[in-house]
């Protein structure tokens, strides 16, 4: 195995690990807004690491550019999507954990 292959495998496996912890956070965290956090972790860090790992396996041609474009696109859209999600949840009347604790009626859970 060449050195590049080893670095690339490490990056790929690290990316998958972050992705997995985000998916578990999706079930483990107590309220909706904290769960959005868990998802945004996976989106940004797993995309960077996995695509970085794949980048090392290209021979620096058109595929490299395409991979970089996918990365750029994910980095722009994933925070936008999480923001849109949080905003529409807020407008839809979902309360945060703190507000629920402050004597409001039970929500969601």
């Amino acid at each position: 195995m060449a050195v590049l292959d080893i670095i690339s495998s490490i990056l790929l496996i690290a990316g998958v690990f972050f992705g997995l912890s985000g998916a578990i956070g999706l079930f483990k965290f107590p309220d909706f807004f904290t769960r959005v956090h868990a998802a945004s972790v996976t989106d940004s860090i797993a995309a960077i690491l996995i695509i970085g790992g794949l980048l090392l396996q290209t021979s620096f041609d058109l595929n490299t550019a395409k991979l970089l474009f996918i990365l750029l696109f994910l980095m722009i859209t994933s925070p936008t999507a999480s923001h849109a999600l949080a905003k529409s949840a807020r407008h839809g009347g979902l309360l945060t954990l703190e507000e629920t604790k402050d004597g409001q009626q039970e929500q969601g859970q």
Binding site: S9, I13, L26, F32, R35, A39, I50, I51, K66
Partner: protein, 88 residues
């Protein structure tokens, strides 16, 4: 190297499975959308990894198209639910 890529594929499939489980069973409608969103982004990564594993980098084009469709679909669904969502 193919072995590592295959393992990564299986692990991403597990993550996709968890996200789908969340989409099927969640306390609020927004949690479901969150699950679907994570499913979408992980699918983009999955397609890219599979393309490299099978030595067919043309799969990257499909990944780009999927990323675009996923984002537009998300925004459309959220626009629909922004003011009309039933709080379950």
């Amino acid at each position: 190297m193919t072995g590592v890529l295959a393992a990564v594929c299986i692990a991403i499939l597990v993550v996709i499975g968890i996200a789908l489980a969340r989409a099927f069973k969640a306390p609020t409608v927004y949690d479901r959308i969150l699950g679907v969103n994570m499913f979408g982004t992980k699918t983009v990564l999955f397609i890219a990894v599979v393309g490299f594993m099978m030595g067919r980098p043309d799969f990257l084009d499909i990944a780009i198209v999927y990323a675009l469709i996923n984002f537009i679909g998300m925004v459309a669904v959220l626009r629909f639910f922004e003011y009309t969502a039933p709080v379950e």
